[in-house]
Symmetry: D2
Subunit: 346 residues, 4 copies
């Protein structure tokens, strides 16, 4: 039984991880901070946790040492405090972007600000178990990927690694739910404005590009272009990845590549059915699960390959992946506490 | 051609009326105020009006005289300024609650504040054309009903007037969309929180009660109880009205009462089909229209009568009804500018 | 480890129970029948079960003996086959309506058909653990309640039992999701027609009335009137129950009644907050859980009490409650396999 | 006043056109056929037309001559009957695909069947007024484009015509509503299955490809690849078009091209704002309108240009465009009967 605390527990990512930790058989949640809700019951903010816990939010000033600290505060806010966090706990998981990018220069270019602790950058492992499992087992510091990066990297990784697709022309058309924008109400998140949208909120220049390029760079940097569209959905993220293949490739080669890398992966499924309503990945049946579902369609005529990846942005995209890393770091079964299979219909 | 200005044109009610006025053949929109958006194009706030108008919002300080002034500011904000408004225009339509209640005492009890201009209360006609058509034609001052009051009164009026239902036990179970709450973003209107809710936001004590009681009081005040539930919908309002009838009543009597009062009404339809998907009133096919659809089911066994009323809260519930009043005040065809029949599917 | 089989496993209720059973530590799923999908993988119909099971649907003709048989076929279809089922397994759970009503006469009146096996009616216990826990522990035959009956009975039970509300005037205004209608596509379930509806599909005469009256009859039969409205939601059911109280009742009395009966209940929560977005029961945060959340608002002025009950119709309303009964019948912890706390945001 | 009849008036496209025609000042609707609903009131199928018309569906066998016949039957069903239709009316608008493709070979390749009347192919004008206005004015026979083709062609046309984008790499990522699939209930259109999907229903090989290639072929055929994803939406269609530009191109050049071709177009708006919630085209505010909204974002770094086009698939995508053609064919104002500006919020 280890003690885990969460810095920034009133947000959606922190709340989701809290839910998972509270039900985890090897973990005791020690403290969860919130400046705004300090001393108030956690379940007032996360109503699904009523009856599950009587925990109250702690003032960030009152943090005590613990075995593992999870940082769930807005991007770029953790780097300045990281040294302090490291004094509180020997192991740290950061859900934010601050330590994902190994290159200080890349970070500063994409985030348009100086990095406050560049010396720590190389201490963090990029927390994608399917790609960095062995490193995660051995490290004390994990920086969890962004949700779009997670699904995009997982969808592309075996094909890029095997050299099956043209690195120069990878277009990621992402469809996103509203939970990704966090819990701060704005005019654009106001229900009457946000409901039913097909909103091109980031047609180019998405920051997760740099993570994807970092993780798919095996000697040659791929050219990644993300277009992000917000749709009517709370949880969930689907990427349609438009790629170009060389002429000789067959469906079999694609299956082979996915099986080679993901044949034993507990949380990746290749979905490609000839019948039924769920012939390709579908985020709604992944809600609450830690799966990344991947599908593809090869257009031989045009030498195009369309890849389809789906996740729950708060689970495999954030908190679920984080718990998967925690399980690895502490030597537990990788899927412990992540067994929920998802619902249908929903 | 008359000149109309709107005080408070950046909100949903003001914007909806603006849309109607811009396409009305007898009306020229002169000024539309917004403190926050002064000098900026109206279509930045109301994107459906792009290409329809180049109008910019006017600072409220810069209002000029016009033929008709429409007040579309939050409840209880117009009473203090009404005398000033009366100097700007000979005719006034107030969309807010300030002058709906004839009794100062009732207003103050339900709105928990003093009325600042009680002397003006009796100058305003309650703007429900189906009930006060002749008065509206002759008045210069109209106070438009609340949306829930509109649909509830119209659904109940013929039956109460004819003495067909027990006045002591009228329960209005209202299902509402998010546009009714206005355009101010809050935690409860945040998409990830508001999406998919069935939220009992006002189980009792709804302020529109007092309007309904006022309008359905023909010697004896009915006991009205509203329970309001917010559901997944942007526009639209449906009331399920649970009433008790005396034993001898038949379906025919109900049809007769509705036909007697609404047989010639341009915007009321009685919906009661034996087949099809739309056997009862359905707010989604009323979106954008000025109709109030009414249906009913008689439960002879229990002497209960369930009434069902549906409107678009921003149209028949606010702006559409207001234009209907304007048409009456100026002697035009009552349905002028309100011809949109609604969409299907939608 | 016991062996359980499901008759009728391709529907939503059967599929939901299958999901729960597959993850239950004491249960082995033996066979799941489907005439239509016999020999095909279960996960083609229930896509969330991919990776969880390789089970194929069995032809109903090929059923083998097991420890417990769950019947998940349409209402009125099990009674004719029940004697055959009883030869296959010593214990039976029927999710349908056939054996819920103890009175043959009542069944025949509400279902407008003869009961084929009236002699078996009194062998079945009504499967609501909160009310019949001890009987369920001892019986071999359970008839699970309808989902609307479940939430309505649980919401009303303590107040009726304690004599706090007038039995003559209980109005249940139910708001329902689309999954309740089952998986058969029809014009009214067609997405373009069903989306965004507020459809009064059963304003009076709902069949669950008879179950509620049976379970809330403590010497005097209550008069129950249900109006059912389908809204934009897949899973979930909320009832707004309009009742009349005697003059002297206070909020405290209501709290007391609920605490007396539900103080120790693992799956009932009383929700009544002064702050936050989730001040009353909300079905969306119950999706996937076995909870029944109950709230209330007392309107002293009018001697009215508005009760609010929410469940996931496929969980506490069907499959979850069924598993709760199974746990009781086999002497396991009542909440085994029902620990999922629900998601937020969602 | 001309007389128009509709063949196949019970579907969504036929119903939408019927709505427009009934309110058109120069048109009298003569007959509307439906085999299934013959002799029944049109408003039972199209509930928004109640009170607008008392028309009943006519048996297709009982068609009489008229001035203009609109064919709204499933794709590939009109070609065999076209000669018969031509005897009924001097002018014909076909909403289906049968006569859109000038090349018999292309038609047969994409629709995988023989064309029954290839001799008629060159008599039909492709009904996109923005591109073929003069031809439409003079023709008697119009084949209206598919909805995806409409929005894709309009979004691309000026840029392809001006040679600004690489013809070899045009990827259209289409997001679609459920009304596009028509009114036939299926398992995949069943609300509980269709609700909330992000369903990759046609990752490659969409039939509208051939129309787009035909219309954008100015000497060299572009390579068009469509990926279609069904999302939670009833009406509406948005395409995100991923293109490659040559290095020297600037935003100004793009604006210039759009202005050159669309500067005077009544139904095309270029949407590219720096502020507000509606900075790019958004289908929900186009519901019920005949607009095609177009936006773009230039990614200089990667020489990519992302185009965004939005329409209401039943209006500009089908019925609205058809009426626009009718207005041209009869010499009326092009926007007659198409003035609805759309709603906000919605």
């Amino acid at each position: 039984m280890i003690e885990v605390s969460i810095i920034g527990g009133s947000g959606y990512a922190g709340g989701e991880l809290l839910r998972l930790l509270l039900l985890h058989p090897e973990i005791k949640v020690k403290q969860v901070t919130s400046r705004k809700f300090a001393e108030r019951a956690v379940f007032l903010v996360h109503p699904n946790l009523r009856r599950i816990t009587d925990l109250k939010f702690t003032d960030p000033q009152k943090m005590e040492p613990c075995d593992l600290l999870v940082i769930a505060i807005p991007n770029t806010k953790s780097m300045g405090m990281m040294e302090g966090f490291m004094k509180l706990a020997p192991k740290i998981i950061d859900l934010g972007a601050d330590f994902r990018i190994h290159s200080q220069k890349d970070f500063e270019m994409w985030y348009k600000m100086d990095h406050e602790k560049p010396a720590l950058l190389n201490q963090f492992v990029y927390g994608l178990p399917e790609i960095h499992r062995e490193k995660i087992k051995k490290t004390n510091f994990v920086a969890c990927p962004g949700c779009e990066a997670t699904v995009s990297i997982l969808t592309l990784y075996p094909l890029v690694k095997e050299g099956l697709i043209n690195l120069a022309k990878i277009i990621i058309d992402a469809k996103m739910g509203s939970s990704q924008a966090g819990l701060q109400p704005t005019s654009s998140s106001h229900h009457a404005e946000r409901s039913g949208v097909v909103r091109s909120y980031k047609p180019s220049g998405h920051r997760h590009t740099v993570e994807i390029q970092q993780e798919l760079n095996f000697g040659k940097q791929p050219q990644i272009m993300i277009s992000a569209t917000a749709i009517e959905m709370v949880r969930g993220l689907l990427v349609t990845v438009h790629t170009e293949v060389c002429e000789e490739i067959s469906e079999k080669d694609i299956w082979k590549a996915y099986r080679k890398y993901y044949g034993q992966e507990p949380f990746i499924k290749i979905i490609k059915e000839r019948q039924g309503n769920y012939r390709y990945p579908e985020p709604k049946i992944l809600v609450g699960t830690n799966y990344c579902d991947i599908g593809f369609e090869l257009d031989k005529e045009n030498n195009r390959l369309v890849l389809i990846g789906a996740i729950d942005n708060l689970m495999k995209g954030t908190a679920g992946s984080a718990l998967q890393c925690i399980n690895l770091m502490f030597g537990w079964k990788e899927s412990l506490g992540l067994e929920f299979p998802g619902l249908h219909p929903v």
